[in-house]
């Protein structure tokens, strides 16, 4: 059965890029959220096995969204996606319970390696 992934990113471009990577590798992208506000509801509906989370988003940040999702589901497996230079936010996200992180720009294999490892651990 294909693994179920959800993508949270305010940039359409990044969502498409990640979606293509996951679909090509045989994952099923069950949800996409373009903001922190909508992410939690979509998470609740779709209950994905893995969430990729942009850390800098307008209004509600990825960090807050991570906290919300983990409050609703402590088992949630969240992978942060961040640009360089957001070290403090990333550290906070890890403390909040995010499972790992990837720095943009990333390579396709990088994303798939980490996704595979996280899903195996879970």
């Amino acid at each position: 059965m294909s693994r179920r992934v959800m993508i949270v990113d305010d940039a359409l471009f990044m969502r498409n890029l990640l979606k293509d990577i996951f679909v090509r590798a045989g994952y099923q992208v069950v949800g996409e959220a373009d903001s922190g506000e909508t992410a939690l509801a979509i998470y609740q509906q779709t209950r994905p096995e893995l969430v990729t989370m942009d850390i800098v988003m307008p209004d509600k940040s990825g960090l807050e969204t991570v906290r919300d999702i983990l409050a609703a589901d402590p088992e949630a497996c969240i992978l942060m996606i961040s640009a360089l230079g957001q070290d403090m936010l990333l550290a906070e996200a890890i403390v909040a319970g995010a499972k790992d992180f990837i720095i943009k720009p990333f390579k396709e294999e990088q994303v798939l390696d980490i996704a595979k490892r996280l899903l195996e651990e879970a």
């Binding site: 990044m14 890029l17 360089l84 230079g85 070290d87």
Partner: protein
């Protein structure tokens, strides 16, 4: 298991025992044959020995054991000789030193040389030998059945059974977000054992600063291979080294967050009672409001107000500690100082049982010490008395510190301040006598000019005044020549609730702690003098710089009116006026600390909640001014002229930029699977305000700018400027429908922002190369 809890308790209890030892040592000197004192000293040393041995601090245990022997010999001989008391005092000082070592996570200092035997033989043979060899510790010491140390004994024993080992993990070079990576490493290690401490610790890691490696103390029963394999899945790990097993008790770091205080249980019971009553009142209130019984509601509200007042009072009580917890060591200090100075000084203390907020007490420690030193060094001539009297007056505590020495001469102080260049002779003449006495609190007063006998005071008096001010208190000095000097410290009992000044500043209300406000003023607009961008006004015969609070905060101020409202505050001892739009009043407020990320803002010290639920930020003027005035000197018009670069240097800068651009292009190519080339065709040096013009921009041409911040060792900004046409191209490239031009919508804007992030390798490259540029510029 977490040992930090016990460690904290150990530190605070031992500190108290040492205080007590100091007091007892002084009273022993007064009555060397008093059995009660000797017994008490014996008990105190015994307690320290037990606790230190339990915690595994062997040097301290050995020393305490020796002191216990010393007191035991006094018990049998019925009195303590002067040599024994000296040796005891030395030992107590050494205990305090060892405790400092432990508190600061240093290895315990070596005592073998510190405690030399007294010149004459003490009553006990053992006291005549150097004492600090750990192997002299009798076997019985580690197994003391002290009732109060009982819990510690078992806890420490259990804890020590699991061996701890040191794990050192190195990250690959240039690992991005290394702090977050280290946090992941810590998390993995937590899965196979207990992390007792790490360097850097979690608090430091959370700040996100680069850290190429992390050292972890891990208690685990697993072997080295298991530890290594636990970390094998983590990317960017370059090497893992597992150190030798060590059975010592590792020490917990980041204790700052867990400072413990001891609260009497009856006080806790009162909290519970009051909270219970409040719950009841809330239920009554809910019922009454459902019934719309407003009389009842008002009644209950009045009740609740009383209860909240009580609760507040009780909570403050819990933070109070008696003044004697810091004055306890003064008798000992006076004894030592009068000995070393050859003077005969007695110390009298009254009212030291008064409770004061522990934060305030901590700050008072050094000032009291300065006052004692000054009184003995400069106040008292040969024989005299120091009197410390504390009393409460409403919500303030007054500590009067007086000596019956020779007093200070205001005229002498004026002369000295003029000679030292602190004030002009005209200013000196205008000072009244009390103000002239305050001159000793000027930083640099004691070192300014020749120190005369009569005006020699002033060592650290600026420190005293600064501490008192920081606490929101005041300092007064009275002195009479030939009769002595009185220092009067007036301090708040508690600082959790403080008085604030509320001001309107542009759209927002702001709060300023009243302790930071010297006075509020309204001056007519014409009273403001201008010189370039700088504004000032005359106040008390002095030109005072005027700064707009709104401007300092980057807010837009309200409309200009005829008069200017301002408050006067202080920065580096100079008065500064901060202009506001309007004063909204003063009141008492509980200052709440602000959380991340607001707590990273300079000049913002907390927040208060208004009755309507609105949050009002509390501004700390000195810090804010620091930042503002610093930024001010970096304004283009205040800056140094641009330096000249020769063509060779420009060529180098161009190369440096191109390396960054190449990396960005490579990244873009990789992500888009398309060949993309970026190039920096020219490099010129210009003022930031002129960038747009220099690029040939013209208001008719639309351009899209993506601004990127460079953080790290070298700071800066990158501005990615794209002509409208290129933007369209890029967007269509990024979109799902290549070839189709896109409108500038929110969505395309966010995609563009992403482009900014994608050129991050460029930013990274620039970060690294900024150093080179800096070095290059320095040449």
């Amino acid at each position: 298991m977490d040992m930090s809890h016990y460690r904290e308790l150990f530190l605070s209890e031992t500190r108290e025992h040492i205080e007590r030892l100091n007091e007892l040592a002084v009273s022993l000197e007064e009555a060397p044959d008093r059995r009660q004192t000797i017994n008490a000293l014996f008990r105190e040393t015994h307690s320290i020995k037990g606790m230190a041995a339990t915690m595994g601090f062997s040097s301290m245990a050995t020393l305490a054991h020796h002191l216990e022997d010393l007191m035991d010999s006094c018990r049998s001989s019925g009195q303590a000789s002067a040599a024994v008391i000296d040796s005891l005092c030395q030992g107590i000082d050494l205990l305090a030193g060892l405790l400092d070592d432990i508190q600061n996570d240093r290895p315990e200092r070596d005592m073998a040389d510190s405690l030399v035997p007294p010149g004459e033989q003490g009553p006990s043979a053992s006291s005549a030998e150097p004492v600090a060899t750990p192997d002299r510790l009798p076997a019985g010491v580690t197994a003391i059945g002290d009732p109060e140390a009982g819990d510690l004994t078992t806890a420490a024993a259990e804890f020590q059974e699991i061996p701890a080992c040191q794990v050192q993990v190195r990250l690959a070079e240039e690992t991005p977000a290394s702090a977050a990576r280290c946090l992941l490493i810590l998390r993995e290690l937590e899965k196979i054992g207990a992390v007792t401490s790490s360097r850097p610790d979690i608090t430091t890691l959370r700040q996100g600063l680069p850290c190429p490696q992390i050292e972890v103390w891990l208690q685990t029963t697993r072997d080295h291979a298991a530890i290594e394999s636990a970390l094998s899945g983590i990317s960017s790990v370059a090497s893992v080294r597992v150190g030798e097993d060590r059975r010592a008790v590792p020490r917990r770091e980041n204790r700052a967050e867990t400072r413990s205080i001891r609260v009497r249980t009856d006080l806790l019971d009162q909290f519970i009672n009051l909270t219970g009553e409040l719950v009841t009142q809330r239920n009554i209130l809910a019922a009454a409001s459902r019934r719309k019984d407003w009389d009842e509601v008002n009644q209950v509200l009045a009740q609740a107000e009383r209860l909240i007042g009580d609760l507040h009072h009780q909570v403050l009580q819990a933070r109070l500690m008696p003044l004697e917890s810091i004055t306890g060591r003064l008798p000992r200090i006076v004894r030592d100082l009068s000995r070393s100075s050859g003077k005969q000084v007695t110390l009298k203390m009254t009212g030291t049982e008064i409770g004061i907020d522990r934060v305030i007490l901590e700050e008072l420690n050094d000032p009291l010490l300065h006052l004692v030193r000054n009184a003995i060094d400069h106040g008292i001539e040969a024989v005299g008395e120091i009197h410390l009297a504390a009393r409460r007056e409403k919500e303030t505590v007054i500590i009067e510190f007086s000596d019956n020495g020779k007093g200070m001469d205001p005229q002498g102080l004026r002369r000295k301040a003029v000679a030292g260049g602190l004030i002009t002779s005209a200013q000196a003449e205008q000072l009244c006598d009390p103000d002239a006495l305050m001159l000793i609190c000027q930083p640099g007063f004691s070192t300014a000019g020749q120190v005369t006998d009569l005006s020699g005071r002033g060592v650290g008096m600026d420190v005293v005044k600064a501490a008192v001010n920081r606490l929101g208190g005041t300092l007064e000095i009275n002195s009479e020549i030939g009769h002595g000097t009185v220092f009067r410290l007036r301090l708040p009992l508690s600082i959790a609730i403080i008085r604030i000044l509320l001001v309107q500043c542009g759209e927002v209300p702001l709060a300023i702690p009243m302790t930071r406000v010297h006075k509020t003023l309204e001056i007519p607009g014409y009273a403001v003098q201008r010189s370039g961008r700088d504004r000032s006004f005359r106040d008390q015969e002095e030109d005072v710089t005027l700064v707009s609070l709104a401007e300092a905060l980057g807010l837009s101020g309200g409309p200009a009116t005829g008069s200017i409202a301002l408050f006067v505050t202080e920065r580096h001892g100079r008065r500064v006026g901060l202009q506001v739009d309007q004063f909204l009043g003063q009141r008492e407020a509980y200052i709440k600390p602000v959380g991340f990320p607001l707590n990273r803002l300079t000049g913002l010290s907390g927040a208060v909640i208004e009755a309507d639920g609105r949050v009002v930020f509390v501004i700390d003027p000195p810090l804010l001014l620091e930042k503002h005035l610093l930024a001010e000197t970096h304004r283009p018009e205040n800056r140094m002229p641009l330096r000249d670069f020769d063509s060779g240097q420009l060529e180098t800068l161009k190369k440096i930029s191109n390396i960054g651009m190449e990396q960005a292009a490579a990244a873009l190519s990789q992500m888009l699977d398309r060949d993309i080339r970026l190039q920096a065709p020219q490099v010129s040096v210009t003022r930031s305000s002129q960038v747009a013009d220099d690029l040939g921009g013209d208001t008719a041409d639309r351009a899209v700018g993506v601004a990127l911040e460079i953080q790290g060792d070298a700071q800066g900004q990158l501005l990615l400027l794209l002509p409208q046409e290129s933007t369209d191209q890029l967007l269509s490239l990024l979109s799902d429908n290549p070839g189709e031009a896109l409108e500038m919508t929110d969505e395309t804007a966010s995609a563009l922002k992403e482009v900014g992030n994608i050129v991050d390798p460029a930013r990274n490259a620039v970060c690294n190369l900024m150093h080179e540029i800096q070095c290059f510029l320095a040449e």
